[in-house]
Symmetry: C2
Subunit: 229 residues, 2 copies
DNA sequence: CCACCATGATTAAATTTTTAATGTTTTGGT
DNA sequence: ACCAAAACATTAAAAATTTAATCATGGTGG
């Protein structure tokens, strides 16, 4: 677990920030930030804790996990670097609504909320751009919600596979870091449903799976399943 | 349908805004705004349209309605005045993700997006406060999502009844403006499920219904149903 | 190196939820 | 006030989904 400032990296965040704030202001972020490494399964931000930092995902993939009574988990979304995390209750005194957990090895930059809030307050353009990023995350969560509400099992599983391909791995072939159980928590169905559906799709040559290696072979068909629901 | 500026009203919006921006800047909003009245069922912002305005709900109740293929509707949320609407894709070039429809007579103030965006860009504190309002709406939508994902029929129906009581009508007794079908679209189940469940609860003395008049008689029990799912 | 545990896979039974069919009541427009 | 349309209500059958039971496999730690 390494500790240090941001400036050692030529980060997406730095580039973004310097379009709106001065080098001097960015130094304030830099000096109050900490860089950490997380292994698969480690909790980055814990549900119920008081948020004091905004997390920036420098590399890796994380899941937003909501734990309800009786060890029941729901994965709200899965995102890959580069990404600002914790935008949901960013600058809220409220406790974290969900945990953020590493799905594969991650580098995280923790930024002091108060420093960032102060910079936003003094720079409207910077605030607006962060607002737009949060809006975009909100928009994606609306799509999840709609998929869940309107589609059944197969449509939902198709949706999360397409989501992972398009928004996380940026490729039709990828090394899936998630277990079937996690896919089920993401698609909001039982692990059996995921297993059965994926097996079926493999025999229908829509996808291929070898171990963790995953490939969408018939994108059109998968999108059709998503549309039909 | 009346047309005019905002300043005729001593609005929540005006009070909020003047904490952060000058009277002169507020005049810019005022001069480019339009006030409209909508009757029950009328569409305020239409799904798929290009957003050019941010809507402020001055009075009344609206639903966020997503229409999917085959006339299937999902109600994402229901909100009452005073409230900023359209925060989801506020300042986005994207088309509206959903329609906003009056559930009962509403007064709406349409504010030019570009004017508001310009004021935010020049006033970080104003931008931050609008960011926080959008965050709060996001948070509520997360709760909807989680309810939908984790609970079945009865838990979900309990959740929307509690939501309406707490967040829309602010009372355990209210004159419900929604039909059973709309309740079903909100709880994501069939109208039959809503009717059956509400009837059952009435015989169990958890609620009473006489026409549109609705009363929660056993709040503890209803909350327990929500918890158990 | 072997036992054990997590993961993946398959099936049948139980449960939940939707669909369809039907009738009654309420509401809104003329 | 009357009529048609919408909303409300109930039931049974059909479909979807979860639960439970069972087993194979592969990686990990003692």
């Amino acid at each position: 677990m390494s500790i240090g400032g941001i400036s050692q990296y030529n980060t997406w965040l730095k580039k973004l920030s310097l379009q709106f704030i001065s080098e001097k202001d960015f130094d304030r972020i830099d000096k109050t930030s900490v860089t950490l490494k997380f292994k698969k399964g480690e909790v980055i931000l814990k549900q119920g804790n008081q948020p004091t930092h905004v997390a920036f995902l420098q590399s890796g993939i994380v899941k937003f996990n909501f734990e309800s009574e009786g060890d029941k988990n729901t994965i709200l979304t899965i995102v890959s670097a580069p990404r600002i995390l914790g935008g949901a209750n960013l600058f809220y005194k409220d406790n974290n609504l969900f945990s953020i957990i590493a799905v594969e090895e991650c580098e995280i930059i923790l930024i002091d909320s108060d420093v960032l809030l102060d910079l936003m307050s003094n720079n409207g353009k910077f605030a607006v751009v962060l607002y737009q990023i949060a809006s975009d995350m909100f928009k994606k969560s609306i799509f999840n919600f709609i998929s869940l509400a309107n589609k059944q099992k197969e449509g939902r599983i198709a949706d999360i596979i397409l989501y992972l391909s398009e928004n996380v791995y940026h490729n039709a072939e990828f090394n899936l870091a998630l277990t079937r159980k996690e896919l089920a928590e993401f698609a909001c169905c039982s692990a059996e449903n995921v297993i059965m559906t994926l097996s079926k799709w493999q025999t229908e040559k829509i996808i291929t799976m070898t171990g963790k290696q995953f490939a969408i072979k018939n994108m059109e068909k998968l999108k059709q399943i998503s549309r039909v629901g």
